[in-house]
């Protein structure tokens, strides 16, 4: 049990994830904390993809400017930018499956030390569907998971093996949690850094997965 250790908050996790993005990258951001990453890209030239058929996703519209024909993958009204292009869903997932999208940043329920990812269903609970998550994790260049290190019961979400149905097998490259940053490496996870106020000992104690 991690006890009092909090580490980064949601915005700090998003800011840390934004450091992963480099000039010129085409990126897909998932729902939740990953969406906040867009607030921290600063001067970097990043193009956001929305998998319902858009590159160059802009911010929410001003009140009164909402356009029902312009939404993101979370079905929220958004805006276009000078660089925006639109395309159909087959083309959109063609660029995802074809590895043209440099990175996807997404949330997770569980991640395992071999890179397995579970984020779409809990058996016995209402299943809504995987949407584009399975295509994204199988196709994009780099999969970065941003999530809390433990669940609300204090149990580790960074596991030796996932217990929930998988979204992808061996697909995760990097995990950013409130406690730090871990990479999927041969034999287990490698600590890249710890969050402010979090010792390596505390990170290890909150992690079920093997740390190499």
């Amino acid at each position: 049990m991690a006890g009092e250790v909090k580490g980064w908050d949601r915005n700090q996790m998003a800011a840390r994830a934004a450091e992963e993005l480099k000039d010129g990258m085409y990126v897909n951001l998932g729902i939740g904390i990953p969406t906040l990453v867009a607030n921290y890209v600063g001067d970097k030239d990043i193009t956001l993809q929305s998998e319902n058929g858009m590159l160059g996703m802009g911010p929410f519209p001003y009140e009164g400017d909402e356009d029902p024909d312009l939404i993101n993958a979370g079905k929220q009204t958004i805006t276009e930018l000078a660089r925006t292009s639109y395309f159909d869903s087959a083309t959109s997932f063609g660029m995802i499956r074809g590895g043209k999208i440099a990175a996807a940043i997404l949330g997770a329920m569980e991640v395992a030390e071999n890179g397995d990812l579970a984020n779409w269903m809990i058996p016995g609970k209402l299943v809504k569907g995987m949407g584009g998550a399975m295509d994204l994790v199988a196709g994009v260049g780099k999969v970065i998971v941003v999530m809390d290190h433990t669940n609300k019961h204090g149990d580790s979400k960074v596991l030796k093996a996932c217990t929930l149905p998988l979204t992808g097998k061996g697909v995760v490259d990097r995990i950013i949690t409130n406690l730090g940053v871990l990479d999927v490496a041969p034999g287990g996870l490698r600590i890249v850094e710890t969050a402010e106020g979090v010792t390596e000992e505390k990170l290890r104690a909150a992690t079920e997965a093997t740390i190499v």
Binding site: E66, P68, D69, T77, D88, S89, A90, G94
Partner: protein, 234 residues
């Protein structure tokens, strides 16, 4: 070549039959063929199978056909916004086949291109791969997915000319082109039918060869999640 019909009802009159397989365009409530769906409801066609990314909401989109129990099976990637869908699914009244979103789009595109199957990495090692052929290419595993060949395609576009050339608007394009391609007959509802020559031939999103019937109508175009920022933020 007469492709323009007076109403959604007229355009669908002789093509609907019980138990048919329909591919529908749209993402969420964006770019859905709302008028054609209403006409199918009125026609009362039953035991329908739909390939559609979503299932609408309770009172809009495919949701209206769920209310009237006209749908037997759905092929979708995400159905979270529809309570009636969930009720029918959990009670066993409705069959559901989850397809990853990109796999569903490619299955439609492939069917429209005469491709009966293709291999993809999406879903390898997950429940989606169960019962599907796994094949290794260059040391990586892929699963076989089938092209979709539907009896009917129903789509929504922004503009058409009378030859069926279509132009979509912003993210309302989404599943409409691949859905249009994979049906034996495609009916498109549009906001405006313009005279021949008015659409720029270099800017046609879907050539008229895929579109057999066109109807013009007024669309409600409902917004699912209205998100805005305040002007003071400038």
């Amino acid at each position: 070549m007469k492709k323009v019909y007076g109403s959604a009802k007229e355009a669908l009159d002789d093509v609907l039959f019980d138990g048919m397989f329909i591919a529908a365009g749209g993402f969420g409530l964006c770019g859905i063929p709302e008028l054609l769906l209403q006409a199918i409801k009125k026609a009362g066609t039953k035991d329908l199978t739909f390939a559609s990314n979503n299932a609408g909401v309770d009172d809009f989109g495919i949701g209206i056909l769920l209310q009237s129990r006209q749908v037997k099976k759905m092929l979708s990637s995400y159905v979270g916004e529809n309570a009636e869908f969930m009720r029918q699914y959990l009670s066993g009244e409705l069959e559901l086949e989850f397809n990853p979103q990109g796999t569903l789009a490619e299955r439609m595109r492939a069917g429209g291109c005469g491709i009966p199957g293709f291999y993809t990495k999406t879903g390898v090692g997950t429940v989606i791969a169960e019962g599907k052929e796994v094949k290794e290419f260059d040391g990586q595993e892929y699963i076989l997915e089938r092209g979709i060949f539907a009896d009917l395609s129903i789509v929504k576009a922004w503009k058409a000319d009378d030859t069926g050339n279509l132009v979509f608007r912003k993210t309302a394009r989404n599943f409409n082109p691949p859905a249009a391609m994979c049906g034996k007959i495609c009916v498109a509802e549009v906001e405006e039918i313009v005279p021949r020559g008015e659409l720029d031939p270099d800017s046609i999103h879907l050539p008229g060869i895929y579109v057999h019937r066109i109807v013009q109508g007024t669309h409600e175009k409902r917004i699912e999640q209205r998100t805005t920022r305040k002007r003071e933020d400038v």
